[in-house]
Subunit: 233 residues, 2 copies
Amino acid sequence: MSTPGRGLHGRVLDSLGPAITAGEYPAGSVLRTDELAQRFEVSRSVMREAVRVLESMHLVESRRRVGVTVLPECEWNVYDPQVIRWRLAGADRPRQLRSLTVLRSAVEPVAAGLAARLATPEQCAELTECALGMVANSRGHRLEEYLFHDVAFHRVVLTASGNEMFARLGGVVAEVLAGRTHHDVMFEDPDPAAVTLHVQVAEAVRARDAERAEELTRQITVGALHELDILAP
Amino acid sequence: MSTPGRGLHGRVLDSLGPAITAGEYPAGSVLRTDELAQRFEVSRSVMREAVRVLESMHLVESRRRVGVTVLPECEWNVYDPQVIRWRLAGADRPRQLRSLTVLRSAVEPVAAGLAARLATPEQCAELTECALGMVANSRGHRLEEYLFHDVAFHRVVLTASGNEMFARLGGVVAEVLAGRTHHDVMFEDPDPAAVTLHVQVAEAVRARDAERAEELTRQITVGALHELDILAP
DNA sequence: GCCTCTTGAATTAGTCGTACCTAATGGGTT
DNA sequence: AACCCATTAGGTACGACTAATTCAAGAGGC
């Protein structure tokens, strides 16, 4: 995922970022740049660059005469894809998945409604194609192929909404769906009802029926919430 | 806003960040670290730290033998509060406000529904207090006081939803509301209907009526969409 | 005697400049 | 066309110095 080895400071981040987001250093913990540089066997310059990045994510704060202070969770840039990945890889993965699924349940229906008004013919075709791909792989434990089309489907919807903020959630949805397939539930074939809903959403978007697209997508996300035992909003 | 002078690299970012997000350097433009360091009259170390931060926001990409390449807009971390601020301060402020308002229209109703189920008594009280503050300042051109309570109201709703992703949008909503008061529409007293809706949302949350809280908040956000001439989703 | 204010020493991040390494790139050679 | 090498710009390391902030010791006042 992303670019693991984009320099030494990247290696440091790949170690330090997950450690911080996992709560290994409680809020208020103080780290010293030189000590960290020694621990990771890099120069101070490299460590400083890593700290700057963590600072831009609001994971830490650097102050003179004090050191690098870990900030409380409520300060973190939880929308930063890197932070999301670190947290999904860590111990509170379930909590993170719940947060993201609730976000999906808010965003995706609205995005689908907008997509029904704004999608280009090409995007409508893509959507239908994805839905058909899901149908074709919904039986016989073809989970990977199913996931591929599922992710593509939601990406197209979010992109077709014409809203850049929605479009940028494509990666998040991909992570959530992949997580569901690989780690958590879904050991058997996907729910046929969900597959049908995706096909119907594609139809609604093609038919420019915004309300129907929104309502159908809402049903999809409600299903996702139930899978995680979240009370439906 | 935030911390303007958190070191030399911060100064550089305050210049370079807005320039990039404003499109002064089109996607694909190549900058050289040394040249930038000279231009901003800082050492290469400081410039490198600034570039690292821009890189973590996916505004630029640094490659050997090439330089620092500006990435296309679709790659940017548009949820980074710093990026949002830079873009709101720039030329495509209107487009940014539209994006954010659409995001609000998706998130806030769901957040209000959750808040109705999860808000603590203290949060219910805060909400009522904010709504009353809005009423008290809804006449007589007390725009600043009205804005203050409006922002506080939405912040409480987002926080009370119990979802960290929603809670972190409090700052975004604050920017949007402040922008509406200071730059764009609203030269006269706020719409009485909107004020009433806020009071009713506070009541619905207090009464644990999730559906009503969600629907009323949807009406508020639909109003915000109309103010910006966005077709209601 | 206790409290407060001042002062200064210790500490740690911030900045700078240099030197050298590494890897892409492009052109020249075979 | 394949290969090789010089060029170039970022990557890393190190050392010296600066500046801000904290903490504690001591002076002064109550």
